[in-house]
């Protein structure tokens, strides 16, 4: 009686595990230098991050979030980048074929923090929001790096439409 029970538990355990991973999230290793200094700041250590799937269930992403998405160039590859612009934003690009891009409906503009060492929207253009799989919410390993990931956008990369609004705001002030 013992052994069939054991197999029964495995048969049910695998789908339960997969469902939890699909609904809530999982821990993944960060490869590469494209997100320095936020992730993998040191060449000798690799960070492990918790990818929160629940947070992107309804595709509500904000500028500054670090997200993981399916690469538009290779559907088998997942990449991790920072959201710089959401739909409707006007972006000053860094080396894309157009200097100023308006992010189309249902798309977003993503960039790695390590400018120039990252395959991002400056290379393949705006990406569809549907490709986003999860939001990176905290670094879980190594223990010395344990922290929640803050959603922050470098001042130099703020979309132009927000900049002009703040300038107008200042003028009114």
């Amino acid at each position: 009686m013992k052994i069939p029970n054991f197999f029964k538990n495995i048969i049910f355990g695998i789908p339960i595990g997969i469902t939890i991973i699909d609904c809530f999230g999982y821990v993944a290793r960060v490869d590469g230098i494209s997100m320095q200094p936020a992730l993998n700041p040191d060449r000798t250590q690799t960070d492990y991050v918790f990818l929160n799937k629940w947070a992107v269930k309804s595709y509500q992403i904000q500028r500054g979030d670090i997200i993981s998405l399916i690469s538009p160039k290779d559907p088998a590859q997942k990449i991790i980048k920072r959201v710089v612009g959401v739909e409707g934003d006007i972006i000053a690009t860094l080396g894309y074929k157009k200097e100023i891009v308006r992010v189309p409906e249902g798309h977003c503009w993503i960039e790695g923090d390590h400018t120039g060492h990252s395959m991002d929207s400056n290379n393949f253009g705006p990406v569809s929001v549907g490709l986003i799989t999860a939001k990176a919410s905290c670094i879980v390993w190594p223990p010395s790096r344990w922290q929640l990931i803050q959603s922050a956008l470098p001042d130099s990369r703020v979309p132009l439409n927000l900049l002009s609004k703040s300038i107008i705001g200042l003028a009114q002030f």
């Binding site: 049910f12 997969i18 309804s58 595709y59 399916i70 559907p75 088998a76 569809s128 549907g130 490709l131």
Partner: protein
């Protein structure tokens, strides 16, 4: 009372267990899709139900002529049902004189009802990562049961 609580926990456990199995079936093996809209007429008309499978998408075995379900590139909450016309590297004619090469990692999708379909002619090639499943056959209405694969 104790017995009642125990049996409630037991049945909740059953629901969770079989719910998880169902989730995995629908997410990784196959599911049913209700279609609406005119873009795939006459192959698929509004309110047809399709049986779709996820295995060939996971294994990336999509070929020209397949009918697929994908997330809409302009609105990720919506799903679209189109036919794959071009794979990466294919040259697609758009308009009279111009043509476009499908980039790597993308597919070119078009509806069968060319006059009334929002597809790659509007939003360009679609990333393969947005494809969810491949349609195998129509299962409803009963009188028009037919396979969709060649």
């Amino acid at each position: 009372m104790k017995k009642f609580i125990l049996s409630t926990i037991g049945s909740v456990g059953y629901i969770v267990k079989y719910g998880c199995v169902a989730h995995c079936m629908f997410e990784y093996v196959g599911d049913f899709v209700l279609c609406s809209g005119p873009s795939m007429e006459p192959t698929i008309v509004s309110d047809d139900i399709l049986l779709t499978e996820h295995i060939s998408v996971i294994r990336q075995r999509i070929s020209r002529g397949d009918v697929i379900i994908a997330k809409c590139p302009t609105n990720p909450k919506q799903q679209i049902c189109k036919r794959v016309i071009g794979l990466p590297g294919d040259k697609i004619k758009v308009g009279f004189a111009s043509s476009q090469i499908v980039p790597i990692g993308h597919v070119w999708l078009q509806g069968d009802n060319a006059g009334n379909s929002t597809d790659s002619r509007n939003y360009g090639p679609v990333p393969q990562g947005l494809i969810r499943s491949r349609a195998i056959c129509k299962v409803w209405p009963l009188k028009s049961i037919s396979t969709l694969t060649e």
